[in-house]
């Protein structure tokens, strides 16, 4: 097989992703040969078999075998998965093809909240106290012996879908029933045996942060630490604002990063992006969740890297460019984020209903420091609030000198939007 002049990336892109354009355009900018693998076939797959493939995302070993067959005629330099499921498939492919990547065990632990808690606790990483329960258990009995407040979680759903806080036994019974309804929805129940279980853990008070990083040979390189200035106290956990750099004091930031590195080591993550959620209080940092993938939704657009030129200026690289460079073994000029403050609002679902119109977009864009307002919900799309929902209707981005100014701009822009539901 002739050696290709450009490295080929196998990009595992689920069809429900927000991030196709960001990754595809990043690959184009880097001049990387790109093969996009999804769980459903593209209509162009037969015409472009070297650029588009279908892999069985539900069976990582089978997907790895499919990738192996593909690689016999198309040399693959790197593989990366965009979401939690694709990250496990990417790990299986990397193991099969001898590519840079994570052990499958690490990707599995990062995907499953219970498995992750067990591994982290076993290795001494601070996590909330947790218990695993089956849907068929006596809920009244469980409610009577729980510690409150607690949080009920599905093992794998993303975007805090199904995550509910309970403050007392009646609240626990109601939350359990609501989560059970979500887990028994046909599209969820079909996902596997994990949908029969509920993770219950102590609610950890205190501010929450998000840690974005790139792991290289087991070492965590911090790309950004985000504050989440809106309290996430429940009962549901729909996210809103991410702001970087963090305004937490330096000692707090340091121990948060140390906690993230400890979690990376505990789970056995070796290579690639991670996105972790942590809380910080008088007890120090608490690892709430670590995913072996990068930040979701459209949020990655908030991050720009200096591409080797310290500080401001030209040549900024996107998060996707860094991930691709790392995956295929291209040099990474810098992991340093640009100097300015930046933030994003994941626009909250304004209510249940069918989206008819969004008003005020131009006015929101006109707010100083606001760079963009992206409405991802399409007209006539049903909007479903949390905890049943998991789709943000859009995103607002801003950049400025300080996190305070960026936060004010984001709030002002959000305040100018009106969602008309039918």
């Amino acid at each position: 097989m002739p050696c290709p002049s450009k490295p080929r990336l196998l990009l595992l892109l689920p069809t429900a992703t927000y991030r196709a354009a960001a990754f595809v355009e990043a690959a184009r900018r880097l001049g990387v040969e790109l093969t996009v693998a999804s769980e459903l076939p593209s209509t162009f797959q037969q015409a472009q078999p070297d650029r588009l493939v279908t892999l069985d995302f539900s069976d990582p070993e089978r997907a790895a075998q499919q990738a192996y067959q593909f690689a016999r005629t198309h040399a693959i330099a790197g593989v990366t998965g965009v979401d939690d499921t694709a990250a496990v498939v990417a790990a299986a492919i990397a193991e099969r093809l001898g590519l840079r990547g994570n052990p499958v065990s690490a990707a599995l632990a990062a995907r499953d909240k219970h498995l992750q808690r067990k591994e982290l606790a076993r290795r001494g990483v601070p996590v909330p106290r947790f218990e695993l329960h089956e849907l068929g258990e006596d809920v009244s009995d469980l409610a009577a012996r729980m510690h409150y407040p607690c949080v009920l979680k599905p093992l794998r759903l993303s975007a805090s879908r199904g995550v509910i806080r309970a403050d007392d036994p009646p609240g626990f019974v109601a939350a359990f029933a609501r989560l059970q309804q979500i887990l028994e929805q046909p599209d969820v129940a079909a996902c596997g045996g994990w949908t029969r279980y509920v993770l219950v853990e102590d609610f950890v008070p205190g501010p929450e942060v998000a840690l974005e990083g790139l792991v290289i040979e087991g070492r965590l390189h911090v790309l950004a630490l985000f504050d989440k200035p809106d309290p996430l106290d429940g009962p549901f956990f729909e996210e809103t604002i991410y702001l970087t750099p963090s305004r937490l004091p330096e000692p707090a930031r340091r121990v948060i990063v140390e906690c993230g590195q400890a979690a990376v080591a505990a789970l056995g993550v070796r290579e690639g992006p991670i996105h972790a959620e942590l809380r910080y209080n008088a007890g120090g940092p608490w690892l709430i969740e670590l995913a072996a993938r990068s930040i979701g939704g459209r949020c990655s657009a908030v991050l720009r890297f200096t591409a080797g030129e310290r500080g401001r200026g030209k040549g900024c690289a996107s998060l996707e460019e860094l991930i691709i460079r790392h995956a295929v073994g291209l040099p990474i000029p810098s992991l340093e984020r640009e100097q300015c403050a930046a933030g994003v609002v994941m626009i909250p679902v304004p209510g249940a209903g069918v989206l008819r119109e969004v008003r005020g977009i131009a006015e929101a864009r006109a707010v100083p420091l606001v760079e963009d307002v992206v409405i991802t919900a399409h007209p006539d799309q049903p909007l479903v609030p949390w905890p049943e929902g998991s789709r943000y209707p859009g995103f607002i981005f801003a950049r400025g000198e300080t996190p305070e100014a960026v936060e004010a701009a984001l709030r002002a822009a959000h305040g100018r939007l009106t969602f008309v539901l039918g």
């Binding site: 892109l13 689920p14 069809t15 429900a16 992703t17 927000y18 196709a20 354009a21 595809v24 355009e25 184009r28 790109l34 996009v36 999804s38 593209s42 209509t43 162009f44 015409a47 472009q48 650029r51 588009l52 979401d83 993303s158 975007a159 979701g296 939704g297 200026g313 030209k314 040549g315 900024c316 977009i361 131009a362 864009r365 420091l369 606001v370 760079e371 963009d372 992206v374 409405i375 991802t376 399409h378 007209p379 006539d380 799309q381 998991s390 789709r391 943000y392 950049r399």
Partner: protein, 204 residues
């Protein structure tokens, strides 16, 4: 007149941004300008190329849509306001914002856009559209200028989460193979207006 003109900016990335205008900007098909020299005689394009510090490399005007490509790292939040002002000024002047497309435009190398258009249209009819139709999609060839194909996606493709994959991994690849004289491809679709995307983004 200014107050009646509403402009919505839709950045694609830091280099590309679409501006949706509430009034028609140019009703004579698509015009693409790849340099300030090519923009001469079209006041809107001239004004956009002249925006200080933006380093505009391309302006594409079609109906109510103005697509701007720039080289500078300046954010669209800053550049977009100047583009908006240029659009408003051009429309308020009462003159044609964009001159009609000159006849018989040819690209260096002797391949003319009309001939390319016919070959691309044939490819779209015979291969591209039957493929995207399986997902309820449609791809309209809008124009070919300076060997750059301008297209619009509709139906299941409009607003689809995988539209960029279809565009780059499917359509662009087929063009490279079947019509190698094509230099580039520009999607002028308003994806936010898609009401029935085949794949809707759902995961965080």
């Amino acid at each position: 007149m200014d107050a009646e003109i509403r402009i919505t900016a839709e950045p694609i990335d830091n280099a590309h941004c679409k501006f949706l205008v509430s009034l028609p900007v140019h009703s004579g098909g698509v015009r693409r300008f790849a340099s300030s020299e090519a923009a001469r005689g079209s006041p809107l394009a001239e004004a956009i190329f002249a925006i200080p510090g933006a380093e505009v490399t391309e302006v594409i005007v079609s109906g109510n849509l103005v697509t701007v490509v720039k080289r500078s790292a300046a954010p669209w939040q800053a550049v977009g306001k100047s583009v908006g002002a240029a659009i408003r000024s051009a429309l308020a002047s009462g003159r044609a914002a964009v001159a009609p497309k000159p006849a018989g435009a040819a690209v260096p190398g002797g391949v003319d856009d009309d001939a390319l258009y016919d070959r691309v249209a044939e490819l779209f009819d015979a291969q591209v559209n039957p493929m995207v139709a399986r997902h309820g999609g449609r791809v309209e060839l809008i124009d070919v200028q300076d060997a750059v194909v301008m297209l619009r996606m509709a139906g299941g493709c409009q607003g689809c989460g995988m539209a960029d994959v279809t565009l780059r991994q499917g359509i662009e690849a087929m063009l490279q193979q079947s019509v190698p004289e094509v230099k580039g491809i520009v999607d002028i679709t308003d994806h936010t207006a898609g009401t029935n995307p085949y794949f809707a983004a759902a995961k965080k």
